[in-house]
Symmetry: C2
Subunit: 101 residues, 2 copies
């Protein structure tokens, strides 16, 4: 998954050991898995050459990072003009988030 980190979420990730992001769509701090329980326990933090992006290696609680229930947000590949879903689906999102999502 790819997400935005701001100073507040970065500090919380470091102090708690579980991944926090900043939700730009909701305009609020986002503790990953706060609703689904699928927390991300940080195992390693890597930084890129110009220090403007970080790579978190995590233990993904619940085995799914994506709110759609797939292990990865990148569960579709481009093939011709279409998308083929070849990711692993771990849960049904309706059971976690309700039908309103």
């Amino acid at each position: 998954m790819l997400a935005y980190v701001n100073p507040q979420s970065w500090a919380l990730t470091l102090s708690t050991g579980v991944a926090h992001y900043w939700s730009r769509s909701r305009g609020k701090l986002w503790k990953k898995g706060e609703q689904s329980g699928n927390l991300q326990e940080v195992r390693e933090i890597r930084v890129d050459c110009d220090l403007d992006s970080v790579l978190l290696k995590v233990h993904q609680v619940g085995e799914a990072a994506c709110h759609t229930g797939y292990r990865s947000c990148f569960h579709r590949r481009l093939e011709g003009d279409g998308l083929v879903t070849d990711g692993v689906r771990v849960f049904e999102p309706e059971r976690i988030y309700g039908s309103g999502r």
Copy 2:
């Protein structure tokens, strides 16, 4: 590596099969490896759940993606308050880009 893609670089990536990005710092189209020769031959393109980021699986010509000469831009990990370089260095950047960089 993480980079920005705009519609022009996306179209060129699809039509040529080698990765193109948009350099926000330079304000111009960026054919990856145009100077170093380290092109990225696209093997697979994956899209994320909300269709605002793409994951390119590539054959990295020259074995290094990073302009610092490392295989990965994420060649350093956080340890305590410091950074530890544990990536694989493939080339000396001075030999590729000259000393002005």
